[in-house]
Amino acid sequence: MIGNVVFSVNGPVVTVQNASDFKMLEMVYVGERRLIGEVIGITREKTTIQVYESTTGLAPGAPVLGTGAPLSATLGPGILSNIYDGIERPLPELMQMSGAMIDVGANLPSLDEEKQWQVTLCVREGETLEEGQIYAVCPETPLIEHRCMVPPGLRGKVVSAAGNGLYRVKDTVVLLEDEAGKRHELTLCQKWPIRTPRPIGKRLPITMPLITGQRVIDTLFPIAKGGTAAIPGGFGTGKTMTQHQLAKWCDADIIVYVGCGERGNEMTQVLEEFSELVDPKSGQPLTARTVLIANTSNMPVAAREASIYTGITLAEYYRDMGYHVAIMADSTSRWAEALREISGRLEEMPAEEGFPAYLPSRISQFYERAGMIRTLGGKDASISIIGAVSPQGADFSEPVTQNTKRFVRCFWALDKSLAYTRHYPAINWNDSYSEYADDLADWYAGHAGRSFLARRQELMGLLHEENKLMEIVKLIGSDVLPDDQKLIIETAKLVRTGFLQQNAYHPADTFVPLPKQLRMMEVILHLYHGARDAITGRGVQKHAVALSEILETGIFSRLTKMKYEIPNDRLELFDEYDAEVDQVLQAL
């Protein structure tokens, strides 16, 4: 029988004529160089394949080989600290093989198959194993214990189990016999098709926040563990910066960082920075809990489309072990554009702005893979998704932003004008929202102190009030406002520069724990309340004080700098600020 051969080539889209033995979403090898591709359409006459590598030089008549299996990720120890391309090929090995420039047709195992892991078996002969149950563990990095689980859909009796010791990922450690009497060899790794969500036990309600150490997020617009958030913003507004900050400091156990169609230098930066940065909790480098997926903008477009799914599959795998995983996708717009590009090559009927009609359903499917869940193995775990969106022309009404907004519950709108004043993170407090605030109220009351939410509310109120007043100020200037309104403007300014603005490069300011966030709010509001009493004559001064007198003392600009002056572990220093506020106000 003559095998299947290429019929036509158009960019990454290749067709094969009169083939009947391909399955939808099957992975195939195209051409002599064995480029990796995936079947995306089948008709009686024609099979359409998208190829994940450059098709330059591919000619009609070149062989196409089916693999019989869908495009899958290999899951096992060795994923963490690694960096992969969009279809889970390890980039460091690729570099050893073909140098600094990526060659096509490199088929590499995703995991180091020679490396030996110190495995501890958790099952004995004769024991019955359920799907998702852990049968072996090994320390993958100093931070993370890797837990090998029975693949979903499989259950049975242990026929034999190896002893503890050193094993490679492909070594069989457990032999399992299912009810039908069929034997399955369990190794340290398993495969899972990237486009299929891994099964879970059940979904759980949202109960705790993902603490990020970023004040504007933790205090004003919190995201939950198992939640979804979008960061839309034009170029230069700091999407990537915010994603980096979250990847560095958020309190998830595992970080999956997907650089989807972004800059190569940025990925290099993440690589270098994360291996130098030390996790404050464990003293280990951040790479010990991070896996990077880098499909930079000049790498093949079809692999960009796959990179998001590869990332979320890795995240689900670690979630199933019982970890809290956060996945950063930067940027989902590039993924949507990859969909559009391939859809265009397939000559599908375009919907809005050339994007395919299935864009909203693809976006929702992706975000629905987040959640707080109970795993098949009975552990509580979560995936939180934080997706950056790069709207065309910074216009939030474009399809990707709009559709994303429908499926996320946390929206951190980045604002160009804030970025122009170098107010970072440039999250606009008027346009952003978090639907998790109510879900998390109990947690905050219990863990951050009862007053936290009240303070937060007051802060939000002030900012909202300022927004209204600024409309007037823009027309007639601030001089005509009465003192109490001017005080709102001054306090809001203090909130903006002293609280919301956060310096990622300042050692004391780059990560701020919740207690410090609370104390900062308290000091600011202490000044506000004191000043409000003073200007109305109800304060300790026994007479009404003009706001200008308070401003002249410089106390407002003093408080702006408290974020730099108090280290995270010396919160008692805030008492001095409180005292200073009292002193200044009393002296008037």
Binding site: A59, M101, G264, M267, T268, S297, A394, D479
Partner: protein, 471 residues
Amino acid sequence: MSIELTGLSEINGPLVVLEGASGGSYDEMVRLRLPDGSFRTGRIVQIEKDRCVIQVFEGTNGLGLTDTSVTMTGRPMELALSPELPGRIFDGAGRPIDGLGPLFSEKKADINGKPLNPVGRVYPLNYIHTGISSIDCLMTLIRGQKLPIFSGPGMQHNKLAVQIVRQARLAKDDGSKFGIVFAAIGVKNDVADYFRRSFEEAGVMDRTVMFLNLSNDPIIERILTPRCALTAAEYLAFEQGMHILVIMTDVTAYCEALREFSSSKGEIPGRKGYPGYLYSDLASLYERAGIIQGVDGSVTQIPILTMPNDDITHPVPDLTGYITEGQIVLDRSLDATGIYPPVSVLPSLSRLMKDGIGEGYTRADHSAVSNQLFAAYAHVQDTRALASVIGAEDLSTVDQLYLKFGEAFEQKFIAQRFEEDRAMEETLDLGWRLLSLLPKSELDRVDNDMLEAHYCPEEAKALLEQGSDVM
């Protein structure tokens, strides 16, 4: 390989269709022979069994269906490379046009290049001194960066590019070789000539490789020009160890050529008729900047693009901004008030500067000064808007100081002469002097120690009293 086929089955704009050809492959180069014996080159852009769609670079005028012969070359488009490249001038498709004969090539390389493995990159850290205050202080250029100039028709982007080329030097000059690759993409003859003259005057011509596709040259060849230029740049940087600055002008013309090609191919258009893959296509150019491990050289890019109708949300500047590591935006109203270089400070940005400035690179106070200048100048814009409604007299005293600061900032800091090469120290000190026009309490982006060390209201006054000598 060298079978010649006669006869085409379709001609449509820059595309021709050849049927009955066997042995062709996607992206392969072909040669078309006309009845008069002249040759044209083309590339297979779509292939379906024995039917090839070929894009003809020199245009299809004069081509006939029956008397054109096509030969497959079996190879993708390649550029001949040699250490002799510097000093030479080529056309947009890499053919020498300086009368010095063909290049004795050491090797050939596919002009599409290959994607750089992020693991193989070195994160760029060393800043390039340009001697232009606004750029050095506020959007520092880093070696290995891609920093485009967003301009508009009629603004002085070319002059600025020339000034950068003339004054650019590495902060820590380690004696390594510096070179320029210049790609003119659909620009006017005068512009190309201006660059050539300026390079000669600056004495860098023997270190410059030029690729010229002028506005009257074949449009489809424009798609090749930046690729040829970048292939040459990568060769000189990564194989000859040179530090290469690539100047490409005008990227908008490139995108228009791409749109023309796409529409003749009958592709579904995206925004403003540009093809949906414009982002990927631009990225395949811009991402060819950088430094790789174990090699001395580097590729730094300064693409220049003109924003149609000065609209920064137009797809070309918009997508460019999403790929490049910052942008230098020129402003028409500054240009109109006679300020050169008319750098619009607020929307401009350099993403790589944060790690390449400060202690050990420039000066410890650099990032504080630049942040504060940005913040203060942003407030100036608000104040000006307010002043235009209620009049400058009714502004608060602080806001009046801001107006004064804004004026001085534009006249003394942004503006500088074409020949003026300001040292980094000078630029930063000037920044502090301008900031000292404002009350201390307004400077909330700098910490107190720095403020004490650099705040100098007297010098600020002295600065104001100096006539505007820079103009």
